[in-house]
Structures are given as C-alpha cells and as structure tokens.
C-alpha cells in the first residue's frame, strides 16, 4: 500500500517536471532519492572510494612488500553518500577523471589533467534549457569572482564537483536550502586558507562587515548571501552576478516591504499565487515571515473596517453633543 502510494506520488511529481527526456543516454531525472539510488558504477567507484572515501587509506609498498597506512588530506576526501546524493551521482569517477587514476601512486602528469567545465557538457543542451546554463555563464562572467579565474576560480569552486546538488528548485525546506546555499559562500568567506589561495587581500570579518544588520544570525538563517550580493536576473532562477560590496543591498525596505525583492528571488519558486495575498497559504506554507512583506490583507481590511466604524460612531456622538449644546444655549 505504502509502495503504491509512493509510486503514485512519484508519478505525479514526474508528470509535473516539464523536462523529462533522455539526454546523452542517461535519464535526466535519475532516482531522486539518494538513499535508494543505486549507481551503475557502484563497484567501479569503490576502487576510488576505498582511498578517497575517508581520512585513512592503505597501499602496498611494492619494494618492501609492506602494507602502508596513511592520512588522506581533507581536500581529497569525498564522502560516498554525498556523491550519490549529488547531481552527478550517475557518473563514474573516471567519466571526469583520467582512467590512469586507477593506478597508485597517481602519475605526476595527471596533475596537469584538463578539467571539464560545466558548459563543456551542458552548453547548448536543450535537456537543460530550464537551467539556462548560458545565461548563468554570462552573468558569472560579470561577477566579482570572474577576475580570479587565472588564480583558479571556476564554477566548480561554488559547485563542488562531487557534492553539488540542486536545492532551491526543489526545496521543501527553505531553511535547509538557505543553509546549504550560504555554506557555499562561507566555504571561502569564513575559511581564510581557501580565501587566500585566490587573493592577497586581508581577512574580512563577515560578522563585522554585516554588523549594521540587526539579529544577524536570524537573518543569515532566513536569507541567502546572494539575496543581497547579486543582481537579479529574471530569466534564471538563481542569480549569479555577484556584485562588488558597494553595490550590495543595504536598505531594509528592499525586503521589508510589500513588493519585497524576495518575491522574485528567494520565494520565486514558492508559487506566486500562493503569496499574492492569501492568508492561509501565504502564511502557513512559508516558514519565513518577513515583517512588512507578509502583509495580511484580510486582517488589514478588517482592522480598517473596525477603525472606520469606531471613528464614525465618535463623529455621530460629537454631532449629537453639538446639537444638544445648541439646544441648551437656545
């Protein structure tokens, strides 16, 4: 029964996704559930995960014939459960990396291996037109990070090749999505070894540079960094043009107002009809309540009505009092 229910749900949700088709021999919508997903390359990838899957790895020293244990550095560890929950979970490691990596020690030449870019695979592919990769690429080229390309910046720096998964597009839990998104930025902006890999600038203390924002912790839990730091582009879901700091949003009204910019960014995918003025839907379905933006038109109208009636009663009372005074005088 439960299985049937799940199937019906899956069917319904699939029929709502407009872009199901088969691209490059793979189903574009693979099994969404990372727990039940089984990769065709499960076994093959194990050859890499046995070393890259945790902090410790082993190999045989062929000269001495001994078993050596060593520590895998943090940057080279890939958790298999994260990989199989990522967008590219249906890949084998060697789809993107050279087959020669199956040999250890890895040859020095492999370091010079050319990496794919997103556009190499996604550029001009209709299957992914809903993501508008070209638009994103164009915006990224205008962003503050682009000038760091020669120092090693690329899309991969925000979209970890092994763990990146789409979030906001399918978000059921906005807070989780926000956390996931902000961690992307904080990966560098709160870790100075990574930050300094790309720039010679001094450390920036984010707490200090954002101290004008009251209740920072609560704000950072409810909005993404990109809300304030990017230029909104209507044709793509996630704005990618990160602007310099002096162009960042600082005015509270941008969010705390009836036509809050959050409606076209963070809440874009939460159906517009829902929020138009709907009391029940707008308020109950959203975990966030933005003072000034979630104006409830029913309560608003009701209070105006009550206020009006009271003022009217007072006016009538005043008229009667004036009449009475005239009578008394006259």
């Amino acid at each position: 029964m439960k299985l049937l229910f799940t199937k019906v749900l899956v069917f319904i949700s699939l029929s709502l996704v407009p872009s199901i088709s088969v691209g490059s021999g793979r189903a574009v919508v693979p099994d969404r559930d990372p727990v039940t997903y089984i990769s065709p390359f499960q076994e093959e990838n194990l050859n890499c995960f046995k070393c890259h899957g945790q902090e410790k790895y082993e190999y045989t020293n062929e000269l001495l014939g001994t078993q050596v244990k060593a520590i895998m550095c943090l940057e080279h560890i890939i958790k298999s459960e994260d990989f199989y929950a990522s967008n590219h979970r249906s890949f084998s490691c060697t789809d993107c990396h050279s087959e020669d990596y199956s040999i250890f020690p890895h040859s020095g030449e492999l370091r010079m291996e050319l990496k794919y870019t997103c556009l190499d695979c996604h550029g001009g592919d209709d299957t992914f037109s809903s993501f508008s990769f070209e638009g994103i690429d164009a915006d990224y080229r205008e962003s503050v990070h682009f000038k760091l390309e020669n120092d090693g910046f690329s899309c991969w720096k925000c979209h970890d090749p092994h763990t990146y998964r789409i979030s906001i597009r399918e978000s059921k839990n906005l807070k989780e999505t926000i956390l996931y998104n902000n961690n992307i930025c904080l990966h560098c902006h709160s870790d100075y070894s990574r930050f300094h890999l790309l720039t010679d600038r001094d450390e920036v203390n984010l707490m200090k540079t954002h101290d004008w924002l009251p209740d920072q912790a609560s704000h950072f839990r409810s909005i993404r960094c990109i809300e304030c730091h990017t230029r909104i582009n209507d044709s793509i879901l996630v704005a990618h043009q990160v602007l310099s700091k002096d162009q960042a949003v600082k005015l509270c009204n941008e969010c705390h107002s009836r036509n809050s910019m959050l409606m076209v960014s963070l809440y874009k995918f939460h159906s517009k009809e829902q929020r138009r003025d709907g009391f029940l839907n707008g308020i109950i379905l959203n975990e966030s309540y933005v003072i000034g933006a979630n104006r409830n038109s029913y309560l608003g109208n009701a209070s105006m009505l009550i206020f009006g009636i009271v003022i009217l009663m007072i006016l009538i009372h005043i008229i009667f009092r004036i009449k009475r005074n005239k009578l008394k005088e006259g």
Binding site: C252, N253, R295, I306
Partner: protein
C-alpha cells in the same frame, strides 16, 4: 477631588508618549515600502526606536503595577461581579441616550469610585490583558530563540507576530476611544486638566 497622585500623572504622561511612539514605529514597520512615504521613520530606525521604547514601556508598566498595589490605587480597578452587566448597560445607555436628554450621571465620580463601569472594564482590559499580551509577545519577537517553534504546523514566530499586531491594533483603538471619552467630562477639557493638575473637576449639573 484629588484623584490623580503625582506618580500616576508622571507614569501616565510617560506611558502615553511611549505608546504613541510605539504605534507610529510599529505601523511604519508593518507598512514600509520601497519609497519612504507618509511615515518619516525609516525601517532601520523604526526597528531600533521601537525596541528601545518597548523596553522603557515594560519597565514603566512594572512600575504601574507595583504602584497600584503599593498605593491602593489598584482598588479602583477591582471588578465586581454584582450587577456587572446591568451597570455596563446603564453607563452605555447614558452615553448613547441619557446624556443628550440631560439625565444625571448614573455613576458620579467620588473618592470611592474613580471610574464608571465602562471606564473600569476598558482600563482593566487594557492594563491587565492588553499590555501584558503585547509585552510578552514583543519579547518573543525580540528573542526569537525563546518562542515556541511550531504550533499546529505554523511557525510560532508568525503566531506570536499576529498576536502582537492584533493586540497593538486593539491598543490603538483604545487610545482613540480613550482620548474621545476623556472629552466627556464637565467640559470637554475638564478631564485633561484633571490629569495635569491631579484634581477632578466636578460635574456642573
């Protein structure tokens, strides 16, 4: 009749100023728009001002409660079950009808009875229901980590906010009605002068 001791007048003046600031900043927060319009207070300063004023109000409210217990002014606020509704109706009938016909005040002010039944119930509701509610819900908004996380599947923050805004609305309504009913003394300005001097001017007729 000396009805309003100095502490009460000072409290009342402070309270009135605070409540008016809170209403203005509260409304400007709720109705901010991209272009700052009718309300001069910008969102950032509205938030700051609202928070500071609210803290002062909380202290002044505690002062009010303590002094009411300590000085005995609290006795005027004690509701009596006997004839509760019939007395209310009598007072309402007077305001709606009797006073225009030149009838006598059904509950003339005396040292034992500062408030008529209608005044008493609105003051009690305002001071002992409205203010506690708005203070507690306000603290909940100021420290979101102490608010109930979820109730009936709705974020506790939202419920707290709705409670806060609704109470704020009723207090604003009270203020308007309060100021108006304060013109219903011997002369329209009598009660206001009473609140300044401390002495209640007796009805002329």
């Amino acid at each position: 009749m000396y009805l309003y001791p100095v502490w009460l007048r000072l409290w009342h003046a402070l309270n009135a100023v605070l409540i008016i600031i809170l209403i203005i900043t509260g409304i400007s927060m709720q109705y901010t728009d991209k272009e700052d319009s009718i309300f001069i207070v910008s969102f950032a300063s509205a938030v700051k001002l609202h928070n500071i004023t609210a803290i002062v109000l909380t202290i002044s409210y505690i002062f009010f409660v303590v002094m009411n217990i300590a000085t005995g002014n609290g006795k005027y606020y004690r509701l009596k079950r006997k004839n509760f509704f019939s007395d209310l109706v009598k007072q309402m009938r007077y305001y709606a009808y009797g006073m225009f016909k030149g009838e006598k005040h059904p509950f003339p002010v005396s040292m034992e009875r500062k408030f008529n039944p209608l005044q008493k119930i609105t003051y009690v509701l305002t001071m002992y229901v409205g203010l506690p509610l708005i203070i507690i819900s306000g603290l909940g908004l100021m420290f979101p980590e102490i608010t109930v996380k979820k109730a009936f599947g709705v974020s506790g923050f939202i419920l707290t906010d709705i409670l806060h805004i609704t109470t704020g609305f009723f207090l604003s309504l009270f203020l308007v009605v309060h100021i108006y009913t304060c013109t219903l003394g011997a002369r329209p300005t009598s009660l206001f002068r009473g609140m300044l001097s401390g002495y209640h001017e007796p009805e002329e007729d």
